[in-house]
């Protein structure tokens, strides 16, 4: 018998386990107060499901094994794929919108030695399926904000919002091929200013300047105004418009100090189709949650409809809150 624990796995004991359960209970009670029904999805499913749901690059981080008949299975690397399939098949006839929430462990292989070293994480998540537009986007933002403030993280968190169609419109306008588009995406994602400007110099268009100053991509309403000075394509302008409308709602709720616009959040372009959001908390070195609109996903299971959701990482939140409690003592 070995005394070792596999990399990226851990125990929670006593007070820490209790804290973790409290965090889970807080999130689930907020979801349920907003009429989100709990769903428990299979822990093991066909690998194809996740490849279809998350794209190959993410899905292949899953732990894989084979079924008796030789088909490839995976320990679920996400929950959303499974919920989307359920909505499109099992619940195809149910009246819309559907609201689902879950607290479930997901399993992903990680590059060793990186900050996100865990291979088992519990996701606290929700999906709002069958309704689109600003009210649905706003609903999930309000949910995320409410959970964080119920966890006493009020004024300790920042939620960044973006609309991925702004980048997509510019990339299409510049007529970028697949590899050039990926290069531009990567340079924006890592904010490599000098390399970005060198890359964009090849494109003789005002649009090329819209992403050339990474520091101007992050901020409040001013970010949208600055983007309008260079962007002319209708696809990006429509996305800017809807982002601005969402920001106006954020302001009218009095949330503008905890929210930020980040046009440079282009990390998951293949997955999201509109709103994308990331959640940061003081004391955590990486984002503790993410989400967005994924209108393309349920279509791949045969019933195309709008959908939006987000997940919070229970383990990362527990770690931050545990450290905060220790510091207060």
């Amino acid at each position: 018998m070995t005394s070792r624990i596999p990399a990226g796995m851990r125990y929670y004991i006593g007070a820490e386990a209790r804290l973790r359960r409290t965090v889970e209970d807080v999130a689930m009670s907020v979801f349920q107060a907003w009429n989100y029904e709990e769903v428990i999805t299979p822990s093991v499913d066909y690998y194809d499901l996740f490849e279809q749901g998350m794209g190959q690059r993410e899905a292949q981080r899953g732990f894989r094994f084979t079924d008796n008949d030789g088909r490839l299975l995976a320990l679920r690397p996400d929950v959303t794929s499974s919920v989307a399939r359920m909505a499109a098949t099992l619940l195809a006839e149910r009246p819309r919108p559907l609201r689902f929430c879950y607290a479930a462990p997901v399993f992903r292989q990680q590059t060793q030695s990186h900050a996100e070293w865990r291979r088992e994480n519990t996701q606290l998540g929700c999906e709002l399926i069958g309704t689109g537009g600003k009210p649905a986007d706003l609903e999930v933002l309000r949910l995320a904000a409410e959970i964080l403030s119920r966890l006493n993280l009020q004024s300790h968190y920042c939620i960044t919002i973006n609309n991925v169609e702004i980048f997509n419109g510019v990339a299409a306008h510049l007529n970028l091929g697949e590899s050039a588009r990926e290069q531009l995406r990567r340079l924006i994602d890592t904010r490599e200013t000098a390399e970005l400007q060198r890359f964009l110099k090849n494109y003789d268009s005002a649009e090329a300047r819209s992403f050339s100053q990474p520091t101007q991509l992050t901020g409040k309403r001013n970010v949208i105004q600055a983007a309008r000075n260079t962007i002319t394509n209708t696809r990006s302008l429509a996305a800017l418009e809807s982002l601005e409308e969402l920001w106006t709602e954020v302001e009218s709720l009095g949330f503008e100090n905890s929210f930020e616009i980040d046009l440079g959040d282009v990390s998951s372009l293949d997955y999201y189709t509109g709103l994308s959001l990331k959640i940061f908390v003081h004391g955590a070195g990486a984002s503790v949650g993410r989400g967005g609109r994924y209108d393309g996903l349920t279509g791949s299971f045969g019933r195309a409809e709008p959908a939006v959701g987000f997940v919070l990482n229970l383990d990362a939140l527990t770690e931050v809150l545990g450290r905060n409690i220790a510091q207060e003592r």
């Binding site: 030695s113 200013t193 901020g219």
Partner: protein, 205 residues
């Protein structure tokens, strides 16, 4: 307050000189042996760590920012933001060998000695050349002369060390300069402070 990790050694002096030009000066003398210290205004805390550890501290968010060479970043593959090329400690990452035509003359598996295993593997891998990587932690230039390896992948500033050990540059892999790196969460949570640091440094680069 934001914490800045600086790699000790080669980069340290030029990084501190650059910061001083930007008006950010250490509270203690530069020659102090303390590993953590504040600047005069109390806005910045500096920690001095091994260069290879700078991406680790920044990726975990223990340091908000770091100053480190591109060579170290390429080797670590850490997930960081890279807003500024500081242009300091300019050098090249090269493949060097005793024989200038080594790439064509070596038969079969090439043995490569290096401190930069990731960079070497990626460089040869991208070209479909099978290599055996021999990981060393210093004095890499000795390896070909002693028969440990056919080639080396190493950092070159002037080329003097290479020449003195009878090696010539066969290929250049990348140029390396000091970079400002930023933790992804700090970039959002301390956006005002980080933007201020980026802009004062940008003005003196």
């Amino acid at each position: 307050m934001i914490t800045i990790a600086i790699g000790k050694g080669r980069m340290q002096e030029s990084a501190l000189a650059l910061l001083a030009r930007a008006g950010i000066r250490l509270n203690d003398g530069v020659n102090s042996r303390r590993l953590a210290m504040m600047d005069e205004t109390g806005q910045y805390r500096f920690i001095f760590v091994k260069p290879a550890d700078v991406p680790v501290y920044v990726e975990h968010g223990i340091a908000d920012c770091g100053i480190v060479g591109r060579d170290v970043l390429l080797e670590s593959e850490a997930d960081l933001l890279l807003p500024l090329d500081l242009g300091i400690s300019r050098c090249r990452i090269v493949v060097a060998a005793a024989d200038a035509n080594a790439m064509t003359n070596v038969q079969g598996m090439i043995r490569v000695a290096t401190k930069y295993a990731q960079i070497a593997r990626a460089h040869f891998g991208a070209r479909g050349i099978p290599v055996e990587i021999i990981q060393l932690s210093g004095s890499v230039e000795l390896a070909p002369a002693l028969g440990l390896a056919d080639m080396i992948v190493d950092l070159v500033e002037t080329g003097v060390t290479l020449r003195e050990n009878g090696l010539t540059v066969v290929e250049e892999i990348a140029e390396s300069t000091g970079r400002l790196v930023v933790n992804r969460a700090s970039y959002q949570l301390k956006s005002v402070e980080v933007a201020r640091l980026v802009s004062v440094l940008e003005a003196v680069v």
